[in-house]
Amino acid sequence: MRARAAVSAALASAGILLAGWQAGVRVEDTGSGAVGTLSGTDGTAGSRTTGSGTTGSAAKAAGTYAGAVVQTRFGAVQVQITVKAGAITDVTALQLTDAERKSIQISNRAAPLLRAEVLKAQSSKVQTISGATVTSAAYLTSLQAALDAANL
């Protein structure tokens, strides 16, 4: 359940970010008087599906706007925002990535754990030792040197 909640939170955050980014583009559009086309980072033009009004910036801003399809590592993402009186009133996901794959990715993040919870290894049962770069001098007293000496 925690993973699901994390997925929902992450997707919601992504949606808000995308919407915020698009809102930023919209403001620029309003400033230049050109309304209706949003462009995405992948170069695909977004589209304004509805909307009305040509009098005043507040009226101009009304409508629903579909953002460009943005390719992420988890797949394609596309959101739509609804704007009324110059304010975003709704954000809808038109395309979301495969939720299952996303949750796998999130669960692969490193999380705190106790020493007793780490996959254990006994010196007598390992065949090699990984450690921060040891110099030739440090090697002489290392566990790896002991292993190597046993196999000479």
């Binding site: 590592r73 990715q105 669960s107 692969n108 993040r109 490193a110 999380a111 705190p112 754990l113 106790l114 020493r115 007793a116 919870e117 780490v118 996959l119 254990k120 290894a121 006994q122 010196s123 007598s124 049962k125 390992v126 065949q127 090699t128 030792i129 990984s130 450690g131 921060a132 770069t133 040891v134 110099t135 030739s136 440090a138 090697y139 007293t141 290392s142 566990l143 790896q144 040197a145 292993l147 190597d148 196999n151 000479l152």
Partner: protein, 271 residues
Amino acid sequence: MNSPALKTRTFGCMGTVISLTVPAGTGPGTVGPDGGLAAAAAAVERVFAGLDGTFSLYRRDSEASRLARGSMSLRAASAQMRGRYADAVGWRLLTDGAFSPERPDGVLDLSGLIKGYAIEQAGDALLALGVGDWCLNAGGDVLVNGSPRPSTGAPWQAGIVDPQDRDTLIGGCPLGGPGTKRALATSGSAERGDHIWGARSWSARSRTGPAGAEFRQVSVAAPDIITADVLATAIVAGGTPMLDRATDGWEIEVLAVRGSGELLATPGFRA
């Protein structure tokens, strides 16, 4: 289960010690009882010595030293030098600058990449010799192939040093065998601080240098040794943001030790 019978040869290069370990047997894929191990070790040593001669800054006559002195430009450098430089720049992009081919003083230094590259090339040389079961360890960075028990498919078992007590292990990691992880690399902020000059970009953001690095030690298990080595270095340099970026972007397992001794691990390192 008894420990498998193994044979090891070691030699010094790149300021550290390289160990080649193989099953002591006569089965297919092993080096046999005769000079096979000597020949395999010689092949590995040739790879390391060749790269050391080109890329080491402590050799005044190396190509790397001539580049560092400015007596040669990168455009005039060998295809091998330019190739590794391109690799390193690619990794800098992928790690958002946490891994860098340049020292803080601007000198090109590919040593953060070359050891992993040498291990990979040495592994290829062993496979070309027909040696199928082996474990290569270069200064604590490990690449394996096959199994310590020929024909069983059993993985090699690697231990990870506890940075607070170098005579004990903090954890373990199976490599090779049925798994896809063949490589394990560990980087630390306590040893060879000069190695983690990627810390430059981190220190600019956090105002802590390598001495105040967030992670004391980071181990990365990956399908290949260059990815494992570069990402372990990058995570030490880049802290938690780089750790999350690495686990999101690559098929790796990570065991990280904070300065306080607290551990962070991906699921693969959980018992």
